[in-house]
Amino acid sequence: MSRYTSITDSDRRAMLETIGAGSLEEVFADIPAEVRLDRDLELPPGMSELEVTEHLSALATRNRSADEEVTFVGAGMYDHYVPALVDSITQRSEFLTPYTPYQPEISQGGLQVMFEFQTAVSELTGLPVANASLYEGPSSVASAGYLAKLENGRGKLVASRGLHPHSRETLSTYARGFGSRVEETPLDERGATDLEALAAAIDDDTSAVFLQQPNFLGTVEEIGPLVEAAKRTGALCVCAVDPLTLGILKPPGEYGVDVAVGEGQTLGNRLDFGGPSFGFYAAAERYLRKMPGRIAGETVDVDGKRGFVLTLQTREQHIRREKATHNICTSQALNALAGMVYLAWLGRRGIVELGELMARRTDYAREALGLEAINPGPVVREFAVRVPDLDRLMESAREDGVNPGYRLGQDYPEYPDGLLVAITERRTRADIDRLARHAAAVRDEVPA
């Protein structure tokens, strides 16, 4: 039953009369009998709103949310606090229910948000131009690979294994389509990108080189020499970044990277079991007319009044079709709005303070756990350790309502006993100490 329609029987009669049809069947006459569904859809009957709420609630309670445990799981999405003002703004109908601002005169709110968002991304990354969002992190990485293909036509993409495993896999998926191949280069014994191996993999056919800061293990990479190696043969250098660390970490633009991309969930977006969040994409000026996604630009109206429009649309599918530089259409405007509101809330000093808090707690946590570090160098929000009996730690901690982290072995056979531990402003010293007690138990009982 559809309670969202309002056609009464008498409406229907009047409307059919206006149409000049005896029945709706006549209107559907163009659909040949052989492709008509001659039965009802095999779906349960409709439910009342109350029943829907109860059914969905019953499903939700069968998940263990980050409210029900102390979670140290990160691996690309993090349990950060989302301030109340984000929800109150993103739930406004005027932001929630329009579509892409094709009619700028009645979409100035959304367009100005895009412009402000682009500014924030540009500020964070230290790159002059940014778009108004892509889907999420890994597909943004892959989209940078496509830009490199359009730019230089070369066939090889070199990716450090410090790049998120989902990003590497997504890059490979896309690359098989546009005709490049991905070569991965290893991490060294300190959990950082092996510079020599990376440099050795880069040749004249290398289209782009992919790095991540901090890398998937949480290591703060020494980016400068890696960028230098990437640039030697004229390859593009793409760096994935966690925007919430950019209050304290050097912006990718200052290292001379061509494109900075990343996952935006950490900026005011929910965990949502993986999405929706947003991807961001910033680049050096020379890619402005090739980069993907919507871009808002400032202009004036016929009365000289300041306003905003979608601009540089000759990059996009709706104008250039097969000559477009990407196929994206619907992206993640509402999630980018959440990101912008969050960044306004955090502000210029807040993003530094939050970064410092994370770095200090992360340092404290690594010490407190007392386990062998896979990446003993600098870290800011996440670190990897070897756990003598990982199964036992997982079991004992989880019984106590603590989720110790992400098992590295599922993506890195080279770290079968690795645990990736993430810290946010929500993980207090008391939480960390609680995890440390479980770590101490497995550390002390298993002989080295």
């Binding site: 163009d30 329009p98 009619q103 998926t173 949502d272 477009a324 259409c329 770095a359």
Partner: protein, 526 residues
């Protein structure tokens, strides 16, 4: 020029000031939690070479002023909850409020994507149930929920096509798209490494079968089709099209942007399609969000299934009579791989699943019936004297959920273009149709009312269009200068592209530099 008689839009009222221009050093909204660990100097934690020297110039604004800023911005947007939004091809149907509530349950919204499957059974079951419902609507057995929007689904579909042909040792080079296709189709073809071959449209608005027969050959990997197509017409020859494509050994891809016309009436799988994408933000009521988020799940036939993206939700029957257990299958040796991180836009899945639960099978069918009835009613009313001679229907056949008018008549008879009519409609507080798409129709207006509009709204739109045309007959300058009552009036798009200002200039920066190679683009096209 005569001024507007219509007082419509209520702009936010504030001058255009960005959040950066509201910033004052020392203001703040955020207060950090106390530092409860030793305050190690940052220099000891992060080497100077990797540290940021100067804080990013984010705004410094207090919470009350942030709230006002964004609330005032919101008032400069027109939205579906406020008024009629017949934007063709976009299915601007009502977004049920209950969906927002259930999506915000902590069990959904606060669930970490790397949570182990045994602690995410509710989420995986929801995904499995949604997948089964979509499979039933599509008439195809296997679903991947992973793609993030329609065009991501298209990319998935062509990568699956590539994997399918490669697996048979028969790689191919070309993909066919009709000239009525949405821009994402040809753009996707290129991203997937194929060559675009355009297929013509017959006089009845369907695929030109002779042209298709000429072009479908051993190099053809796929035909991408929308049915009903972007003209709002159901292609009567769909079975023959499927036969031609399959005889050539190619796959048939269904762009599901227009699925809202045929739920429970006709299924893409039964039409012969191999791969279908859904736009959950169109057909299944996910709010459009000002341009996303959406989701673009795909459904496929048995022969395509082995190649579906990783991970796949799987249902495992424990075999001892207890309830099924759900898991994510990451192995899938023939899979094309991931298209994104984690398992997809789960928050969108929750809303669309709630929508399907609310409507049920019969309700989905009713929604499509009503969408088609509304479209045909509006089409009939817009053919009335005073309107029809200026905005003739492009293809005079019963339409499905949308239809295309041509502004050719208005341009000739009244001297106003489709763009002018669209802009003048803004003063009447309705969102204009999609304009200048599909490209096939001169001065096109693609109108999709959706099923959630009552008859009175449709009648109101007819009267607005009539008023615009009558006014243009008296004085075309009014429409040419419109809109008048919106927060801003027509904007200089060419100038914006010539001298792009795409961010707030950093403090002390030079004004924007040299004009680039700007090209005039048509405002408002899709």
């Amino acid at each position: 020029m005569s001024q507007s008689k219509v007082i419509g839009f209520a702009p936010g009222g504030e001058d255009t000031v960005t959040i950066y221009e509201r910033s004052q050093p020392g203001r703040r909204a955020f207060v950090a939690p106390p530092i409860d660990v030793p305050e190690a100097p940052l220099e000891e934690l992060i080497p100077q070479s990797e540290r940021r020297a100067e804080a990013p110039a984010l705004p410094e604004v207090s919470e009350p002023e942030i709230v006002r800023h964004f609330n005032n911005l919101s008032k400069n947007n027109f939205d579906l909850d406020t008024g009629f939004y017949p934007l063709g091809s976009c299915t601007m149907k009502h977004n049920p409020k209950v969906n927002e509530r259930v999506a915000a349950f902590p069990g959904h919204a606060r669930l970490h994507p790397a949570q182990e499957a045994r602690y995410a059974q509710g989420a995986l079951e929801l995904m499995s149930r949604l997948g089964r419902a979509l499979a039933e609507v599509a008439g195809l057995p296997h679903v991947s929920l992973q793609p993030s929007a329609g065009s991501h689904g298209e990319l998935a579909g062509l990568l699956l096509t590539r994997a399918y042909h490669d697996d048979r040792g028969e790689p191919r080079t070309k993909v066919l798209t009709p000239d009525t296709a949405h821009g994402t189709n040809p753009a996707t073809v290129r991203m997937a490494g194929y060559e675009v071959v355009k297929v013509g449209t017959a006089p009845d608005g369907g695929v030109d079968l002779d042209d298709l027969r000429r072009k479908a050959d051993g190099e053809t990997a796929c035909l991408m089709l929308t049915n009903p197509n972007t003209l709002g017409l159901f292609d009567r020859n769909i079975s023959e099209i499927a036969r031609i494509v399959h005889d050539a050994g190619a796959t048939l891809y269904y762009d599901g942007a227009n699925l809202n016309a045929v739920m429970g009436i006709s299924r893409p799988g039964d039409m012969g399609f191999d791969i279908v994408h859904f736009n959950l933000h169109k057909t299944f009521s996910q709010p459009h969000g000002g341009g996303g988020p959406g989701a673009g799940p795909i459904a496929v036939s048995d022969r395509i299934e082995p190649f579906l993206p990783r991970p796949q939700v799987v249902e495992v029957d424990p075999g001892n009579g207890t309830a099924p257990v759900y898991d994510l299958d990451l192995v899938r040796p023939k899979s094309i791989g991931r298209l994104r991180g984690f398992a997809g836009n789960f928050g969108v899945f929750v809303r669309s699943y709630a929508y399907i639960c609310s409507l049920g099978g019969d309700g989905l069918r009713e929604a499509s019936d009503a969408a088609v009835l509304n479209a045909n009613y509006l089409k009939a009313r817009l053919a009335e004297p005073g309107i029809g001679e200026h905005l003739p229907i492009a293809f005079d056949r019963p339409c499905m959920h949308e239809f295309v008018l041509s502004g050719q008549g208005a341009r000739r008879n009244l001297g106003v273009k489709t763009l002018d009519i669209a802009k003048r409609l803004l003063d009447h507080r309705v969102h204009p149709p999609t304009v200048y798409f599909p490209l096939l129709v001169d001065e096109a207006m693609l109108i999709e009312p959706t099923e959630t509009e009552p008859k009175e709204r449709l009648d109101g739109f007819v009267e607005a269009v009539r008023a615009v045309l009558e006014e243009a007959a008296e004085d075309p300058e009014v429409a040419r200068g419109a809109p008048y009552t919106t927060p801003v009036r027509r904007l200089d798009e060419a100038g914006a592209a010539r001298r792009p200002v795409v961010r707030q200039p950093p403090a002390g920066a030079e004004p924007p530099g040299d004009p680039g190679d700007a090209r005039q683009v048509t405002s408002g096209s899709l």
